[in-house]
Amino acid sequence: MFESFDALILARAQFAFTVMFHIIFPAFSIGLASYLMVLEGMWLKTNNAVYLNLFKYWRKIFAVAFGMGVVSGIVMSYQFGTNWSVFSDKAGPVIGPLMAYEVLTAFFLEAGFLGVMLFGMGRVSKALHFTATVMVAFGTLLSATWILSVNSWMQTPAGYGINDVGQFVPEDWMAIIFNPSFPYRLVHMVLAAYLTTAFVVGAVGAWHLLRDRTNAEARKMFSMAMWMAAIVAPIQVVAGDFHGINTLEHQPVKVMAMEGHYESHPDGAPLYLFGIPNEEEQRLDYAVGIPKASSLILKHDLNAPLAGLDTVPDELQPPVGIVFWSFRIMVGLGTLMVLVGAVSLFLRWRGRLYDAPLFHRAAVAMGPAGFVAVLAGWVTTEVGRQPYTIYGLLTTSDSLAPVAPPAVAASFLAFVVVYFALFGFGTLYILKMMNKPPGSLEPLDEGPTRTAGTTGLASLRPDALPAE
């Protein structure tokens, strides 16, 4: 039944599916690890139990999200070989060492100290426990750094040579690691992870404020999250702009697709807000745009010329429709985030931050916004660099492993079924944990602080879900 499918399409679908599922967990755990570090640090500094309660509350959620990130990440590290073996053979000498450094510096750091962070309170001193939390947070950031360097090298390759068997070989490691798009992509992604977490924390805080606006933990987390939204969302807009300008310099075709610029504009390109990309006719139908605004944003000059897709052969164009829309979803959500941050500042100034049910409802609705924006952003950049895996040098179709369509179809199907089932349960458990009011069951919930030998109430497992 699978013979009619093309192994290339199936392998791409499988990679897209597994990596999109995977990125959800790191996007959340990068931000959450840093948040846990801040919470524990604030607790140690102020001795305010609200911070400790919040730390324990989010730590449990972190454990589940991190576990899902680990297991979905193992998939990625083997899929390069099983489905993209030609790419691995050719690019391995350059990107392999970067990924090895990710494992050596980041994964071990996270995993090694995670046990102490989750289970070690009471077994080690407060200072050591905090060190473990800091190491986990630091590890998540290091991991992001390396893998974004890898991804950026594939987008804007530098510092390489090509040997006689066609492999990319390293010539200048600094140029490889700090390739042209890496700093922009790293900043954009780390800020995105922080925003994602801020909006999740904000939504959970708002959810509990809607039920009980006196809950001290809910107030604290909502306030912290809204500070993040107010400060980081505008910074992200600026970072995104810089990233876009960098993309225009190195991958102009991607920007043409993002902007829907089928035709060239010699004196000022419009910013299309809406339109339906028509790939057959190579034009944007029903276009609604602001004249010259695209040139203003990308070139900081109203009349700057911008080339369009009419300068690019059809077979070297990415799928414009996907890129055009995913980019708009990301930008739209980013704009909403800035708005939420601004409203929170206004309400805070008026002393009504905890007393604004309508705003709290909006914050709950914005809870998943970060995830959607992160996925939309990645779709934009990954689909936008097609048809290449290594930009301008190695095409996606030349990267494929010699796998038979039935084998890829079967594995793709298995990943879809297993991921939806298992990570569906995981998401459900996380939502159930989030639904529990923060702080309510503390004293009882002293699991981690008991030392060996003391038995007690925790055997009741207060946070276990009641049997249904």
Binding site: G96, G115, Q167, L465
Partner: protein
Amino acid sequence: MFDLPTIWAGLLALAIFIYVILDGFDLGIGIVFPFLSSDKDRDTAMNSVAPVWDGNETWLVLGGGGLMAAFPLAYAIVMPALYAPFIIMILALVFRGVAFEYRWRDKAHEKIWDRSFFFGSLIATFCQGIVLGAFVQGIEVNGRAYGGGWWDWLTPFTVTCGIALTAGYALLGTTWLVLKTEGDLRDQAYRLARITALATLVFVGVVSLWTPFLSPEIAERWFTFPNLLFVMPVPTLTAILAAILGWSLLTKRDQVPFPTTIGLFALCFAGLGIGIAPYIVPRAITIQEAAAPDASLSFMLVGAAILLPLIIAYTAYSYWVFRGKVDPEAGYH
């Protein structure tokens, strides 16, 4: 002799060995999970590995990532050759990995997650055994790619390796429980360890005798003079350690069986090395042929030389924090 590819082959072998030992005992606990008598015993068994399993599995990521980085050609040949067992292993690891958190979160479905933990651990282990067996029996290569069929990995030999590794991991898991638990659970672990020890020794014997018949090249290494003198310590030491294992399981010396089992694994590993070197894709591609350029290997070696000792140090520290018999009531849940 000690050029960069050789050093990296050694480091990768070390990473894989550490993985086999560390994830071996927590996979092994999954394999014997349904044979423990009560829910409380299962809770304790799982708690004994909960703080360390993430770290254990990270060595598998290092194995995959390291192979791609240091020997990209071998990675590009071996992964498609073993497509099915690798994909199934990864999926099985997902099933067991999520069970660590899920079974505490959802008491109503605890049985489902217990099964997910058991079958995930069992299937992942069996697939690793298949991978090992398929690797030892040889992989067909065509140019710079895999040249064999989609079912080459499934032979009586690979299935036997799968069973042998399952028994071996179960032995690691049960001897770990002997080390880490007390009372009735420890006694159950002793009973299970005796069964799995016997199964492990029998299957390791079968695989060891079978391997030389896979290829005259392997047979020559084991059965000709003067190689014979050089390789003889491996079976001899194996016999000695097997005797120590049997004695310690019968006389209940809690501290002895786990390290002895690690010793047995080390000897099996050495035996495999004797059969495989200097190939990285057995009898097709050598370590030298598959190696990434020296610029890649030396760049990584700097990092590995600094970081591996650090990693081993803080991993050891983490084990030290959770040392001793595990408290059945503890756990952050």
